[in-house]
């Protein structure tokens, strides 16, 4: 598939994969006419941090790029990153009073040696050898290596100074994380969706680029509710296959009480839940693990959703064009079987769809066998998202 190489030329194609594996090719503007009154669309309103920081590794004097990649749970326990099952359960216990249960000064980070985003991440040289206690000067910010996480590129980093220093330093010196398929340097306005609110994501929840205020207004007129949660989307790719297998890291989310109520009410009445992007699926399915009811509040989404997962909440996902092998593609297998997804990929390639965060989008309805219900009315019939 061709890579969408610029945020300035938004692609406008929409592929719909229905619950029976049928395809339709539409335009993004047609989203306004999709879905039914009573359906609820859930988007991720996280704004994106300028999480790429260039600087110098003080002990060696060598150049280094740090990409902030995830939050460290408050209390310092790491889940998937450390790969320690005992710590994973601790990581999900969020301290009372904590907004999203994250430590504001510490981050999971990926380190690269010299070069910049124009070199594909898989070809980037390794960082200088890092040891706990090493100082890294990142523009106006100073960070200290807290510890390595079983990989020379993966570390926990602690910033010195106040929270205000950190925010001001990121605002002045940080750049959005970007990859070689977009040559032009990205600005923050390129990576904030229209709904971007709290800056907690490390890469944009990019399916949200498909939503604008005109579309939200059209949905409102048709009785389709837009609601949001905040999910701190982490880094999507490191260029290192062994590290990429550990993605996504545990990611904190917050589901406002009104969002949870809106989803649970819609489900009780037979309305369908549409997730804008993979992060929304992770948060909602994580928050409904116990009994299929979405619980409001904060938590950490852990583990992967994939072929073996049974979805309790989400009926359809709007997502970018992902390809076999990407972790996001694996999540889509919870919605559709591999055969249909592979056919969708071939067809998207033939028809000139564009991949990656500024590319085209696909709407995938969940296949019936991928649903674990019991308490939900059976309304999922062909064309339930109709009008197209």
């Amino acid at each position: 598939m061709i890579a969408a190489d610029s945020p300035d030329r938004p692609s406008g194609k929409l592929m719909v994969v229905d619950a029976h594996g049928g395809f339709r090719h539409r335009q993004r503007a047609d989203l306004a006419a999709l879905f039914q009154p009573g359906d609820v669309v859930v988007a991720n309103d996280a704004a994106t941090l300028p999480a790429s920081l260039r600087g110098t590794h003080a002990p060696s004097g060598d150049p280094i790029e740090i990409r902030l990649a995830g939050w460290v749970p408050a209390g310092g326990k790491l889940g998937m990153v450390a790969g320690d099952q005992r710590q994973r359960s601790a990581a999900r216990r969020i301290p009372p009073g904590s907004v999203v249960g994250r430590d504001a000064g510490r981050f999971i980070a990926i380190a690269f040696g010299q070069g910049d985003h124009r070199t594909p991440t898989e070809d980037r040289p390794p960082p200088p050898a890092l040891f706990p206690g090493d100082r890294i000067q990142l523009g106006p910010l100073v960070a200290v290596v807290n510890r390595l996480l079983n990989h020379p590129r993966l570390l926990v980093l602690c910033f010195l100074g106040t929270r205000a220093d950190l925010l001001a330093g990121l605002a002045r010196h940080g750049r959005p994380i970007q990859y070689a398929h977009v040559p032009k340097p990205l600005a923050l306005w390129d990576v904030w969706t229209n709904l971007a609110a709290d800056p907690v994501a490390f890469e944009p929840p990019s399916a949200g680029f498909a939503l604008d205020w005109r579309l939200l207004s059209a949905w409102r007129r048709r009785g389709i509710t837009l609601t949001t949660l905040t999910h701190a989307a982490g880094i999507s790719s490191t260029g290192d296959p062994t590290l990429d297998r550990r993605l996504p890291f545990d990611e904190p989310y917050t589901i406002p009480p009104r969002t949870a109520a809106s989803i649970n009410r819609a489900m009780a009445k037979g309305g369908r839940i549409v997730a804008i992007g993979t992060t929304v699926v992770r948060a909602l399915e994580s928050a409904a693990k116990a009994d299929g009811i979405v619980k409001p509040g904060s938590g950490f989404a852990s583990g992967r959703i994939g072929q073996a997962s049974r979805l309790r909440i989400v009926d359809a996902i709007l997502t970018g064009m992902h390809q076999p092998g990407e972790s996001h593609f694996e999540l889509l297998r919870a919605f559709a079987d591999a055969q249909d997804l592979n056919r969708a990929t071939s067809e998207a390639t033939e028809r000139g769809y564009r991949a990656h965060e500024f590319g085209d989008v696909m709407l995938i309805e969940r296949r019936e066998q991928n649903w674990v219900g019991g308490c939900r009315p059976t309304v999922a019939v062909a064309g339930a998202f109709g009008s197209y």
């Binding site: 309103d45 925010l167 605002a171 923050l188 949001t228």
Partner: protein, 249 residues
């Protein structure tokens, strides 16, 4: 039944407690008075101004969050929005107060340099447009959570009346006033209200630069205008849980 003034004051004071409010031009004049009064009422306040020293001084005096930046510079806008929402964790009220007079001393339009008009439009019109756009997601989130969402754009009677020598400022404020009205109509269904407020002629550094011969005693004190705007904010937001509690008790 006699009015219990003590309770009325408590109700007003607690109604802004915990509200997340951002103000541009927060280190002097009306902006500074707003920062002080909103902090006194328990709001969480982040303010923006151009000069780091003045920002630090005001932050220390008021215990508000000071952010250095220039709303007239396109490249500053998202870094400002990042720091505002990063500090406050969202946003309920945005007050676009920072203003540029254009040419100083004031000049007839025919003597106004294009760059001075551009600066006035950049700070007074494009600045509020860009910052509001960057913060629309946060404001809409606040509205969805029933906290309310309000954008106050500081206007002027020069936005309506044609005063000789005030051309650059007037044109920019007239455009801001109209933009406010249109945005209010468009964002109504998203739960975001937009207000243009004329604080009248005040004894501020901006007014002194525009009219050095004016008698300060004849001008309104910025504290008075700020108090009026605080009232508009209280009116414009749904009651907070704290206020409902106070009313009930």
């Amino acid at each position: 039944m006699p009015v219990n003034l003590d309770k009325a004051e408590t109700v007003t004071a607690s109604s802004l407690r915990g509200r997340r409010i951002a103000i541009t031009g927060g280190t002097s004049g009306l902006g500074l008075a707003l920062v002080r009064q909103l902090r006194d009422q328990g709001a969480r306040v982040a303010f923006v101004a151009r000069t780091a020293e003045a920002v630090d001084r005001t932050a220390k005096q008021t215990d508000a969050i000071g952010i250095t930046g220039d709303v007239g510079r396109k490249d500053d806008i998202y870094p400002l929005a990042l720091q505002i929402t990063g500090h406050l964790g969202g946003l309920d009220v945005l007050i676009n107060n920072a203003s540029s007079l254009g040419p100083v001393p004031l000049a007839p339009l025919a003597d106004t340099q294009c760059e001075d008009l551009e600066r006035a439009l950049g700070v007074n019109l494009l600045g509020p447009f860009r910052l509001t756009k960057a913060l629309m997601g946060a404001l809409a989130a606040s509205a969805r959570e029933a906290r309310g969402a309000l954008v106050i754009n500081i206007s002027s009677d020069a936005a309506v009346n044609a005063y000789p020598n005030w051309g650059a400022y007037s044109a920019s404020k007239a455009a801001l006033r109209h933009m406010t009205a249109i945005w209010n109509a468009e964002a109504q269904d998203d739960g975001i209200r937009f207000l243009a407020v004329d604080p009248r002629d005040m004894d501020t550094p901006l007014h002194a630069a525009a009219d050095p011969d004016a008698d300060p005693a004849m001008l309104k004190r910025p504290e008075v205008s700020a108090a009026e705007i605080v009232d508009r904010i209280v009116e414009g937001l749904p009651p907070s849980p704290a206020r409902l509690e106070a009313v009930r008790s």
